[in-house]
């Protein structure tokens, strides 16, 4: 499967230039990293926007941008991954319901609360009657959406599939996540030092990353996706075996991986999953991380996928993402992504230059 178009919105100033990764890198001192992009009006008509929550807006804009970038007006499928969907609207509906003791409730927030609102709204905006799917499997939401696209690209090659991941910040979820250890509680947190805090949880982010993929290569494609695998649960030993098997299945060895991108998020309880691969089978290659830039959210790995596509295109790695001092080979051919959240929803994605 080929990646023919890429687009992402998140807490960073994503460069519109083909030649660079970001504009000026954004620093945050709180554990909440809101999306940097704000020019939604440029992409969505006011009448359509008035009921849209932030995830719908982010999703619709990221989708419009990627389609426009390669001149596609009608994708042949819309496949979205989202961990929480339109969380804020769900919260508002529930709060009103509880406050009024199931009194008279306005329907708009309920309508927005369904998890497939983003995919549905993209279809509505595009008047697109094609296949429309939404995956909501925690940190594997984007990955299983991508897997769906991957399977479709094999059975029917010449279709343009729009696939993406999106999640929004919810104020109340953040409060709760400080209770249960998902969000760091330090008063001040610098996102660039994310891995230095010896505490549980991570920093919270939001964003949308959308791609156009196809079984057919376009000129020029960013990358080819060789394979995707997800595992609901693994222990560390199992993880290593699965990583090695994944490469073997694709007729590769650890030596063939030029860059290893991981979802390290600074959670002392779970970053060991990454360390176990970083200090072992992938210890001698450039290792990258990215959640210090965009925060942790269920579909933040969509940004890692964007990053990998961009690296293959530019043939360089952004210094700000480097975890170790290894420089990449003169030609970057193969990138492996690995992500998990709280020991669940492990995923591998293998990309290659094309």
């Amino acid at each position: 499967m080929f990646v023919n178009g890429i687009s992402t919105l998140n807490a960073q100033d994503i460069s519109s230039s083909e030649e660079s990764f970001f504009g000026e890198v954004q620093t945050y001192s709180s554990p909440i990293l809101k999306t940097y992009f704000s020019d939604f009006r440029k992409y969505i008509k006011p009448a359509a926007m008035r009921r849209m929550s932030s995830s719908v807006k982010m999703g619709v804009v990221a989708a419009s941008k990627v389609l426009a970038s390669i001149n596609i007006t009608q994708p042949d499928a819309i496949i979205v991954g989202t961990g929480m969907g339109c969380k804020t609207d769900s919260d508002v509906f529930l709060e009103n319901l509880l406050a009024s003791n199931e009194g008279l409730l306005s329907p708009t927030k309920f309508i927005q609360s369904t998890h497939n609102t983003v995919a549905g709204q993209i279809a509505l905006q595009l008047k697109c009657k094609a296949y429309n799917m939404t995956f909501v499997q925690g940190a594997a939401s984007f990955e299983t959406a991508l897997l769906d696209a991957f399977l479709q690209s094999i059975s029917s090659k010449n279709r343009h599939l729009l696939v993406g991941g999106v999640d929004e910040i919810s104020k109340y979820s953040n409060e709760l996540h400080q209770l249960d250890g998902q969000l760091k509680t330090e008063q001040e947190i610098c996102n660039f030092n994310l891995l230095d805090y010896a505490s549980t949880g991570s920093i919270s982010g939001e964003g949308a990353s959308f791609f156009v993929v196809s079984g057919e290569k376009s000129e020029p494609s960013y990358a080819s996706v060789k394979d995707i695998e997800t595992y609901n649960q693994l222990d560390k030993e199992g993880l290593k075996n699965k990583a090695l098997n994944f490469l073997k299945k694709n007729e590769l060895s650890t030596d063939d991986i030029d860059v290893f991108i991981c979802g390290n998020n600074g959670d002392v309880n779970y970053d060991d999953f990454y360390h176990s691969l970083q200090s072992d089978i992938f210890s001698q290659i450039p290792q990258l991380y990215y959640k210090h830039l965009v925060g942790e959210f269920y579909t933040s790995s969509g940004f890692a996928f964007w990053l990998a596509c961009k690296i293959l295109r530019l043939q360089e790695i952004p210094e700000i993402c480097q975890l170790n001092n290894f420089k990449p080979n003169s030609s970057i051919k193969t990138i492996l992504l690995y992500n998990q959240y709280k020991g669940r929803d492990h995923s591998f994605i293998l990309l290659q230059a094309c």
């Binding site: 008035r50 409730l105 329907p107 309508i111």
Partner: protein, 83 residues
């Protein structure tokens, strides 16, 4: 202009998130669901809630809503007739 009509415009703008409109943009006789204001069926449900919450008027027959929600004028007259 009567206060009720201005009040209704303000409420509709706020309740339905019509950020781009101001009270002056809505004429009493503008068709709320036509091209002029461009409301849809979800807005109709929101208006039913607004009527009940703010004016204590229960609209039971959805067909009735069609006539009542035609314009600010018809809506205001309907509320006045119930008070």
């Amino acid at each position: 202009m009567s206060n009720l009509r201005v009040e209704l415009k303000e409420k509709i703008i706020e309740q339905l998130n019509l950020e781009d409109l101001s009270v002056e943009d809505i004429q009493n006789d503008d068709l709320l669901f036509g091209d002029e204001i461009g409301l849809d069926s979800i807005d109709a449900l929101e208006l039913i809630v607004l009527l009940e919450k703010d004016y204590g008027i229960k609209l039971t027959d959805p067909a009735e809503g069609k006539e009542v929600f035609k314009s600010i004028e018809t809506l205001a007259q309907f509320i006045e007739s119930k008070q």
